[in-house]
């Protein structure tokens, strides 16, 4: 150490690796060696193409998570959409028999009744008559509705259609809507059109239903026109829009093929960025903290403490990780539906983090202990001890900072595996999140092939097997299988590249 310090400072050539800290001039505070090491690591990391690619992908995903934070959306559940296989407004023209007296046009006959909501209507007849009212809105609200239409002779004929916009339906009960005609000559045809929500497709109770805005024959923001046969399968649409509403840039996610409900994959991936990064960071962080503590204690105290703690680590490491997670999650979520009086979502996620941290700390404990055993023999620790530093100070000021980099490598590796683990759990049918449609990458990609008790893949495969026999069409929504999985894959891959580059950059033996 002394001889090294006396040696002349190796001048760092411009563009070359920053030199390791050497003895600074006197009366100057010694620069933090960790900063110099970080700069050195960065120098070597920058020259590793794969690590840089990984870092780039990771930064993009983090940007996505930050972008999602600014969106005013529900974070606990994906927004469901409803599909319609009709391409024109759901109008139900009814031609009344022209008797010249009061005639009922009963909409129950056409629609099976109308659910609660507001509907626009328009009345049409030949040019010889003017209906009154010609158009308007009716509100179905818990009772049958009757509209009296009076025709007067002479007039402009059919009026331009200006529908009022509809409101989402409410209770699900249906009520009759009757148009009563008067003043029309016998034999004159007339008709009433309603622009309705499409209750025959979209069941009430969902957040969004298909609506047709006034005056247009194009569907509303939360309704999607789908190919006939499989209403829930929507290919990626070219038009871009922010989350939640509008076109689906990455297509639809359906877990129940054939039903009209589906989810926006782009919405899920963006909001999943938040949850995935948050959950994996907190799991790895708490696991690393626990492991740091155990490892530091084991290495510093040695003897029986070390022996006991390391045997515990061995025991934990011999249990396959996924199985330990399964056992702990299954047991805890069963035993404690809620904890600390928190809402189900918060309790579940806290339990999840706890269960994962329980399985993750031994790796860190082992790394930190090894590092402690190396560091404690170093001269500077000896010097600190000689100048009267206590155990706690030595651990906190010397041992822990020197184990930060190996722990960081392991952390960056583990951060990528956690969404994979969560996806596996969801795929196996665990209800680890309070809702099935939780925006999390692992959960999304598991649901895309069938998780949580659903069997999406089998349904698609069955449709293709039937298609081969000549029944129906073989529908494989590649976007649904591809995009969530690709996100997960790129995330895990990028952190793997990054941690591999970090390891190479930190290990001088492999750098030669």
């Amino acid at each position: 150490m002394q001889a090294e310090a006396a040696a002349p400072t190796p001048a760092s050539t411009p563009g070359g690796p920053p030199s390791l800290p050497t003895t600074p001039p006197k009366r100057q505070r010694r620069p933090n060696p960790r900063i110099a090491q970080a700069m050195r690591t960065w120098y070597f990391l920058r020259r590793n193409t794969l690590a840089m690619v990984g870092l780039g992908i990771l930064l993009v995903l983090i940007a996505l998570a930050l972008y999602a934070l600014t969106l005013p959306l529900s974070y606990s559940n994906l927004t469901p959409y409803c599909a319609s296989s009709q391409s024109t407004p759901n109008s139900f023209p009814t031609t009344g028999p022209s008797t010249g007296t009061t005639v009922d046009v009963n909409f129950p006959n056409q629609l099976g009744g109308l659910t609660d909501g507001t509907y626009g209507f328009v009345v049409e007849t030949s040019a010889d008559y003017t209906p009154s009212p010609t158009q308007g809105t009716i509100r179905v609200d818990g009772a049958a509705v009757q509209v009296n239409v009076t025709f007067t002779a002479g007039g402009p004929g059919p009026v331009p259609v200006h529908f009022a916009s509809s409101t989402p339906p409410g209770t699900g009960s249906v009520y009759a809507v009757t148009f009563v005609e008067s003043g029309l000559a016998a034999g004159t045809p007339w008709s009433v059109s309603l622009n309705a929500t499409s209750p025959s497709v979209c069941t009430p109770g969902f957040v969004s239903v298909c609506t047709y805005p006034g005056g247009s024959s194009s569907v509303g923001s939360s309704c999607y026109v789908t190919p006939a046969g499989d209403p829930s399968v929507i290919a990626p649409t070219a038009a871009w829009s922010p989350l939640g509403v509008g076109p689906l840039p990455l297509g639809s996610l359906t877990v129940n093929p054939g039903s009209p409900y589906f989810y926006n994959i782009w919405d899920g991936i963006t909001r999943g960025a938040d949850w995935s990064l948050l959950i994996s960071a907190s799991i790895v962080g708490s696991g690393a903290l626990l492991g740091l503590l155990v490892g530091a204690i084991a290495g510093e105290f040695g003897g029986y403490v070390d022996e006991a703690l390391m045997r515990l680590v061995d025991i934990f490491l011999s249990i396959p990780q996924l199985l330990l997670v399964i056992v702990v999650v299954a047991t805890l979520t069963f035993a404690y539906p809620t904890i600390f009086g928190l809402p189900p979502l918060d309790s579940r996620i806290l339990l999840l983090i706890f269960a994962f941290a329980v399985t993750w700390w031994p790796f860190y404990a082992r790394i930190v202990r090894g590092q402690v055993l190396v560091v404690r023999e170093q001269k500077f620790v000896e010097a600190a001890r000689a100048s009267g530093a206590g155990r706690g100070r030595i651990i906190l000021r010397h041992v822990v900072p020197n184990s930060v980099f190996p722990v960081l490598v392991q952390m960056s590796l583990d951060v990528g595996t956690i969404p994979l683990f969560i996806g596996t759990l969801v795929f196996l049918g665990f209800g680890i999140f309070p809702t099935l449609y939780f925006p999390e990458w692992g959960s999304l990609s598991a649901l895309s092939v069938g998780g949580g008790g659903t069997d999406t893949l089998t349904t698609f495969l069955t449709s293709c097997q039937l298609a081969a026999e000549g029944y129906g069409a073989c529908v494989i929504p590649w976007w649904q299988l591809l995009f969530p999985g690709l996100t997960l894959f790129f995330y895990a891959l990028s952190v793997n590249f990054l941690s591999d580059g970090l390891r190479d950059a930190l290990d001088p033996r492999l750098r030669r």
């Binding site: 025991i315 011999s318 596996t424 795929f427 049918g429 299988l481």
Partner: protein, 403 residues
Amino acid sequence: MQMWVYVVRRLVLLAPVLIGVMTITFVVLNALPVPQRLAEAFGAPPPNNPGEYAPTIPCVNDTAKQCPNPVYVRDVARLGLDKPVPYQWGVYAVRIFTFQWGSVGLGSTVGEEFGATAGKPVTEVLGWFLPYTLELAGLSLVIIVAVSLPLGNLAAVNRNRPVDQAARVMSFSGFAFPAFLLSSFVLMGAVIAVGVSTHYFARTPWCPTGEVTYSEFHGSWPQCVLPPTNPSWLVGGFISHPTGFPTVDAVIHHQYWLALDTVLRMILPALIIAFGSIAVLLRFVRNSMLEVMNLDFVRTARAGGVPESVVVKRHAGRNSLNATVTVLGLTFAFFISGFPVIEYVFGLNGIGYLLALSVVNSKGQIDFGIVFGSTLLFTYIVVGANLIVDVLYAYLDPRVRLS
């Protein structure tokens, strides 16, 4: 130290690990409410009597009142749940080490999927499903070693060249691509492109001319609806399975095409498992090879004019192999986690499938007997594998057992 002394020492050191693993599952088990702990030990109640383990039931003479449930009281006493925790631990330890690992629930998904398992002891059921898993694990391990040893050496020799980068990307891709997606894609490809049935990988349709039914479980084989003339090796409509290992059984019955068929169908699932966990071994082989290549004796050999291929093969390769053996155990512990998903997707009759079925929570009934039983079994397999690896390492490198 003699070899056998070393083995005995390692065996003695095994005891604390076995007890420790059991204690961890005991601690986790303790978090469950009492009825679920009873269900874990004695099987989940049948669907027609979900309240079998309720603490109180309506009294016989006055149904308006609640009386203690005699079944509950009896079984709580059997597990010692009315006693202090150390006593409960003792009861649990005795249960585990006498192979009373609980029972399969009558109303659980496992019991429904495999009717023969309902109400049976967990150890017996696990014994039925274990052979297939072991065969699959063995095949995957062979693939992993066969790929990662040469590829790791190649990557180390061509460090930071395209070969190394390609190996790195491949191994990390396997690590980063979720197994459930990959296996689903493979199954999809097989079904759509090749046109096989979704049951293709699961069970060999080995019946000579008859039909196959998939309703019952018979030692990894399907039941066979047989033509009138039964081959001698078919007993009562299904193959007799003296060992339970499908390939071995087929060979015993001299059905060699059947054994080959079984192995061929296992290859794709085994490849997926291997792809997912090749990274651990491949990276380790590469790094240990790099370290050895920098050692003095390698430089000496090179300086002495030994051809590079011989240096790589004889000098560096042999010496890096020793260290590689130690991670085999780690690899094993890692890739065994992939079994529930792979066996679930392909419908393979192994313990992973059993575990995957046992946690399906659609009816709110997790089969805790299977969950804890298979976790213990997998862990003990890993512990055993580590023991074998250690002994192997001591055999390869005498310094280990001499120190």
